[in-house]
């Protein structure tokens, strides 16, 4: 019964299951990746070593910088598009739909595409955007263009389109969630005080939705920065982000090199998120 009286021990015991899970399934694998990133690879095996070859090759190649730049480019553009669409949808759902039933119904409607797999939703764009795809043939039958638009498919445009399509919901959900918690009387008060629609949006709603925006941002940015399959399929293997660099390395059995790239990516993403969190204290706002 001493245990119950000792708050330090009992709280330690309470957190230990979670801590153990995180330690085994998160910390350990990352430590392993860090270790392997200093190893040496041969054709068919990896040899324990402590050398900086993998990092040297990574930082010594101009392709690495291009690829990291690409990764940020995809993340930034996708973020801007998903934020715009996500915010608009959430705003409409939260403030223009009056009844809770309809809000829930329309919200569920948004999730319908998620009943099929990511890959299928992505790949279905390919026949649509192709040289003889629906988009091009429609435009041509309208007489808007004479020759098919080449950059619709297997281009950065296609990649970002797929990203936006895949990840907008990750922006809608948290923003909608925070918007629903905004006290409606605050908006009435603002209106009574003479604010117009734009002012209410800018000075009341956006500041109060910040945590939602930030959570959505973290979702979208990490998903895009860690993705490789969308980039591979939608660019026809022609563009690369860091994820593809890693997956190529793994496919070619270059695990140490893949680990080194993964560590650099991990640090980059952590720094990005750390920076983002400087703007909003999610913990406090929630």
């Amino acid at each position: 019964m001493k245990l119950r009286n000792n708050p330090a021990i009992s709280s330690l015991l309470m957190v230990s299951p979670l801590a153990a899970i995180l330690l085994i399934f998160l910390v350990l694998p990352i430590v392993l990746i860090v270790i392997v990133s200093f190893w040496r690879a041969t054709e068919f095996s990896i040899v324990p070593a402590f050398e900086f070859d993998n990092y040297e090759f990574l930082f010594g190649s101009s392709v690495t910088y291009t690829v990291f730049f690409n990764t940020f480019k995809y993340a930034l553009i996708t973020w801007a598009c998903t934020l715009l669409i996500g915010f608009t949808v959430a705003y409409y759902l939260a403030f223009h739909i009056r009844t809770l039933t309809w809000q829930i119904a329309l919200f569920l409607l948004c999730t319908i595409p998620f009943w099929t797999s990511n890959i299928i939703r992505m790949i279905s764009w390919i026949p649509f955007l192709g040289r003889k795809g629906i988009a091009n043939s429609t435009l041509m039958s309208w007489g808007a263009i004479d020759v098919p638009i080449e950059w619709l498919l297997f281009s950065d445009f296609a990649v970002i389109l797929a990203f936006v399509h895949l990840y907008t919901l990750f922006m809608v959900v948290p923003i909608f969630n925070t918007m629903m918690r905004i006290d409606k009387s605050l908006i009435e008060a603002a209106r009574d005080a003479g604010a117009n629609g734009a002012q209410i949006l800018w000075n009341v709603i956006i500041p109060l939705t910040k945590p939602g925006i930030m959570i959505g941002t973290i979702f979208v940015v990490t998903l895009v920065m860690g993705d490789f399959i969308t980039v591979r399929f939608m660019s026809g293997s022609q563009s690369a982000n860091v994820g593809r660099l890693i997956s190529n390395d793994i496919a070619l059995l270059q695990y140490p090199s893949a680990s080194a790239t993964a560590i650099v990516l991990l640090l980059t993403v952590l720094i990005t998120i750390g920076t983002l969190l400087r703007f909003v204290d999610i913990r406090k706002e929630l």
Binding site: F44, S61, F154, G236, N248, A251
Partner: protein
């Protein structure tokens, strides 16, 4: 190495071992004869993996019918196949892999050497896989030719030997001569050189495969054809040669020559049928697949010759006892003709042509192997029409095609460097 898997239950295995091995000595040499342990072998499940080209459900069904045991197939892309053979030895019993993959993974010790005295049709295996010579007069092409990595020194060998040692790394099953595939209807003029792949005329309509060991050879063929450089040995480039080759293609990529790169052959089929691409590296069944949709597609013979590849079956090092004998029986069955005939009708060559002939009609044999004009409709194994009466195979007869092979898919001494450069090319 005393590694074994507990997966199949140790007790059954040890129990049967004695009985089985006695019966096998007699059994495996007389193929198809009823065997004493036929009842036990029905419980065996062999797990095979390989690329989509020969991992066909029809084969698994036929195995069940003819041999009674279960064969589980997993089809993967070439790089995943290599990865699995090297890193997950307990995930498979039979590896259906290419010879250049064997060169990469043999040293890892995940496959066991196979005793050629247990292979009934060993003497009928094509010369390419044994002495390396197609005909006594042939010269051996550059690159990782199958016979150079086909034999090892003994049951526990991890090396390669250059003579027929009686211990094979892979039992050869399939090979072919690869070239560029084109859409004649969209190109509208004859194509006769590898250099056409980088011809600006096809800007945004070309493709190359994203599998380094194969792609680098296609690149080398193009570079030589363009007159940019003649390699002393395409199959074993120096760092400078790798830089040069990939440099030329990186520039072409930046200029928008390529529409896409592909990794598995169904991707190449989609690129071709949709008209996104009109000229690209291609494999035989992909051509078959495009044609069977009624779309014209030619496996274009080119002046510089073909890039060739060969595949075979390897046995996991973890396999022993009745499973090992089932694996041998499966391989013997594989070489006995039915699969060979099936693969030949897809445009490949069987490593044991003699036995495959018995499973093909005279017209099919004439069309696919001898390069003769078809007398009636030529059908794919699944029944789609591939050619009508009077048509001949692209590239002609077996000797015309395999006789014009100038290089094999390769793993070079500088493979590590090449792979990194390849990765850069894809990312550039």
């Amino acid at each position: 190495m005393t590694k074994f898997t507990e997966r199949n239950g140790l007790s059954r295995r040890t129990l049967l071992k004695g009985a089985a091995s006695a019966a096998i000595a007699a059994g495996s040499t007389t193929l198809g004869a009823p065997m004493l342990w036929a009842q036990n072998i029905k419980d065996v499940t062999l797990r095979q993996f390989g690329t989509g080209v020969s991992n066909l459900n029809d084969v698994a069904n036929k195995v069940k019918e003819d041999l009674g045991f279960t064969l589980e197939m997993t089809a993967l892309d070439t790089d995943s196949v290599t990865q699995r053979a090297a890193t997950q030895p307990n995930s498979f019993d039979i590896a259906d892999i290419e010879y250049f993959i064997a060169k990469k993974v043999w040293g890892a010790g995940n496959l066991q050497a196979m005793d050629t005295t247990k292979i009934a049709n060993y003497d009928k295996i094509a010369g390419t896989f044994r002495s390396g010579l197609l005909t006594p007069e042939s010269t051996i092409a550059q690159g990782t030719a199958p016979h150079t990595v086909g034999f090892t020194s003994g049951p526990n060998g991890t090396d390669f030997v250059q003579e027929e040692s009686g211990w094979m790394t892979l039992i050869p099953t399939i090979y072919n001569a690869d070239t560029l595939g084109i859409r004649p209807d969209l190109i509208g003029r004859p194509i006769s050189n590898w250099s056409e792949l980088l011809n600006p005329e096809f800007k945004g309509k070309a493709s190359i495969l994203d599998i380094s060991s194969i792609g680098i050879m296609d690149m080398a063929m193009v570079v030589e054809s363009m007159g940019e450089y003649t390699y002393p040995d395409k199959g074993n480039m120096t760092r400078e040669e790798i830089d040069l080759t990939i440099g030329i293609f990186t520039e072409a990529k930046k200029n928008g020559q390529f529409r896409a790169f592909w990794k598995s052959f169904d991707e190449s089929v989609n690129l071709m049928t949709s008209g996104e691409v009109v000229i690209q590296s291609m494999w035989s069944p992909a051509i078959t697949a495009v044609k069977s949709q009624g779309i014209p597609c030619v496996y274009q013979p080119l002046e510089e010759g073909y890039r060739s590849w060969g595949g075979g079956l390897g046995i996991s090092a973890a396999l022993s006892g009745i499973e090992l004998e089932a694996a041998y029986e499966y391989i013997n069955w594989y070489l006995s003709g039915w699969v060979g005939g099936y693969l030949m009708r897809q445009g490949y060559y069987s490593a044991v042509p003699e036995t495959s002939k018995e499973f093909m009609s005279a017209d099919e044999w004439g069309f696919w192997y001898e390069g003769k004009a078809a007398e009636g409709d030529i059908l794919s194994p699944t029944g789609d029409k591939l050619a009508g009466a009077g048509e001949v195979r692209d590239g002609g007869s077996f000797l015309d095609r395999m006789g014009s092979v100038v290089c094999w898919n390769s793993v070079m001494d500088e493979n590590q460097y090449m792979v990194r450069k390849w990765n850069e090319f894809i990312a550039a």
